[in-house]
């Protein structure tokens, strides 16, 4: 698979007195099998970027400009038709708070099979088989497959999403705050599963998180956003050791302080 490239993404919110740009010319590059961490303070535009990338931007927000190169094709993000056949098969978005991404009225196993039949045009029997494999891979048994999302714990729901990703084999995974609300041990476990999945599928993972420490551990590349723009981008090691932008520096200093306890 080739790298995924996002060029010049602009997202705006129409309003009285003209539209307001909330994402300004964001360009990102995602290497297959690698993790790109997107950092920044609240309101910097990280989640909006993720939504725009997967075609799930809620109205009245809209993409004013932006191209995504994926699998040799160039997608014009301003046109919603571009997403036909792409979403799910190539890009999978895992929302903040895993409960929201799953259909509450459908059993968990059935949701995966359904997605396989739709997005990968599989026959029912094959879909069921792959669903079983996927759930097993992430430590869920057939009993879990028969449950509804609300009957599973938060951790189990996240695993279901991981199983879904494994089954669909998308090229690009976007995880928005996947470890929010978990305690330290679960956080590490979840991050490990994510990164393993990414490398196994050869997909690119765009990881958005507040948890800078987690990102520093797992991300291969980092991009820092502020007020809708990407202010710094580069390999994780370099960025953390030699930050140049003031925001990055503040973030790294805070990180150091929290890790080591020295001001």
């Amino acid at each position: 698979m080739s790298a995924m490239e996002l060029n010049e993404l602009w997202v705006e919110l129409p309003g009285p007195g003209g539209p307001r740009s909330l994402v300004r010319g964001v360009s990102l590059r995602l290497e297959p099998g690698q993790v790109l961490g997107l950092m920044g303070l609240s309101g910097a535009g990280k989640t909006l970027t993720a939504c725009a990338l997967s075609g799930l931007l809620p109205a009245p927000l809209r993409v004013a400009q932006g191209r995504l190169r994926l699998d040799g094709r160039a997608l014009d993000l301003t046109r919603p038709q571009a997403w036909r056949g792409v979403r799910g098969r190539r890009v999978l978005l895992l929302f903040q708070g895993a409960g929201a991404a799953l259909d509450p009225l459908m059993r968990v196993g059935a949701q995966i099979s359904e997605a396989l039949r739709q997005d990968r045009a599989m026959a029912a029997a094959q879909a069921r088989q792959i669903t079983g494999q996927a759930l097993e891979r992430f430590g869920l048994d057939s009993d879990a497959a028969r449950r509804y999302p609300h009957q599973l714990s938060g951790g189990m729901r996240r695993r279901v999403l991981l199983a879904l990703a494994w089954a669909l084999r998308p090229q690009m995974l976007i995880a928005d705050e996947p470890t929010n609300g978990l305690d330290a041990a679960s956080r590490d476990e979840m991050s490990l599963m994510f990164t393993q999945l990414t490398r196994e599928l050869g997909a690119g993972l765009l990881l958005i998180s507040h948890d800078l420490r987690g990102m520093a551990r797992w991300a291969d590349h980092l991009a820092v956003m502020e007020a809708g723009r990407v202010v710094e981008q580069g390999r994780a090691g370099e960025l953390l050791n030699r930050p140049s932008h003031p925001l990055t520096r503040s973030l790294v200093e805070s990180l150091r302080y929290l890790e080591g306890g020295h001001a």
């Binding site: 919110l13 009285p16 909330l22 309101g43």
Partner: protein, 275 residues
């Protein structure tokens, strides 16, 4: 409609309409061109003219005057009944919401009994037993309405109580009265206001219905429902007799609904927070 305060247009339109009508019927002694009870058999069933702006009825009485005086019953009594039901029901529901398990149970089961009675029938029985009269009318309608308010306000109060910042207030050391006045009640006003506007319209229709059935103010005193009932016989000969009271009820309910919808938009929209 202004962007900054959605619903404002409706609230103003409805409010103005209702206020004008209330003012007009309140000032009936000043505005009515004639004595509404004055019978003039020579002027029976006259269409609207300069002398009688809304025509005359089958006994030659001026419709406009009857409409204005009739409104004193239909409109003002309706507002009074609505207000009374609201006050009693609100206090009841808030009390139940704040009380412990037993208190809540007792209060709300009583309200359930109140709700179980079909409203209009109950009003019918009460007014029949008390032989009509304004006080009876207002009391009867208030009695049919209070239980609904109790239910609504108890639900609203419990919902407000469950908010996290109420727990935070308790942790701060705030006492019960302070919590009630500053945190709980202010949360309740918007839905209560919208419901009040809508319910008022309903009560006025109910009042007219009672009058139509002959259970309101007894003739010859005018009242919109009774006027509607009498106009039935002359529908083909004198349609204006029906239009005046019918139109009045329609306008009042329209005004109430406009206010309710306007308020709903105003506060609903404020709830949606984007970024």
């Amino acid at each position: 409609m202004s962007e900054r305060r959605p619903g404002a247009g409706r609230v103003w339109a409805g409010g103005l309409l209702l206020a004008l009508m209330a003012l007009a019927v309140w000032a009936a002694p000043l505005l009515a061109p004639q004595d509404p009870l004055r019978v003039e058999l020579g002027q029976r069933l006259q269409p609207p003219s300069a002398a009688h702006l809304l025509g005359t009825d089958q006994l030659g009485r001026d419709q406009l005057s009857r409409l204005l005086y009739g409104g004193r019953v239909s409109l003002l009594a309706g507002l009074a009944a609505s207000g009374a039901a609201l006050v009693v029901g609100l206090a009841w529901g808030v009390g139940a919401g704040l009380a412990g398990r037993t208190g809540d149970f007792l209060l709300m089961r009583t309200a359930d009994v109140g709700l179980a009675f079909p409203g209009l029938l109950l009003a019918l029985v009460l007014v029949g037993a008390w032989q009509g009269g304004m006080v009876a009318l207002v009391t009867a309608l208030a009695l049919t309405g209070w239980a609904w308010w109790a239910r609504l306000s108890r639900g609203l109060l419990r919902e407000a109580k469950s908010r996290e910042y109420v727990l935070g207030g308790r942790a701060l050391g705030m006492g019960g009265w302070r919590l009630l006045g500053c945190y709980l009640l202010p949360q309740m006003w918007p839905p209560v206001a919208v419901a009040a506007a809508m319910k008022t319209g309903w009560i006025i229709v109910a009042l007219s219905a009672l009058g139509y059935l002959g259970l309101g103010i007894q003739p010859p005193h005018p009242e919109w429902g009774a006027m509607l009932q009498q106009s039935r016989l002359y529908m083909s000969r004198a349609p204006w007799l029906m239009l005046a009271p019918g139109g009045a009820v329609f306008l009042v309910v329209l005004a109430c609904n406009l206010i309710a919808e306007g308020l709903r938009r105003r506060w609903q929209i404020r709830e949606v927070r984007w970024l």
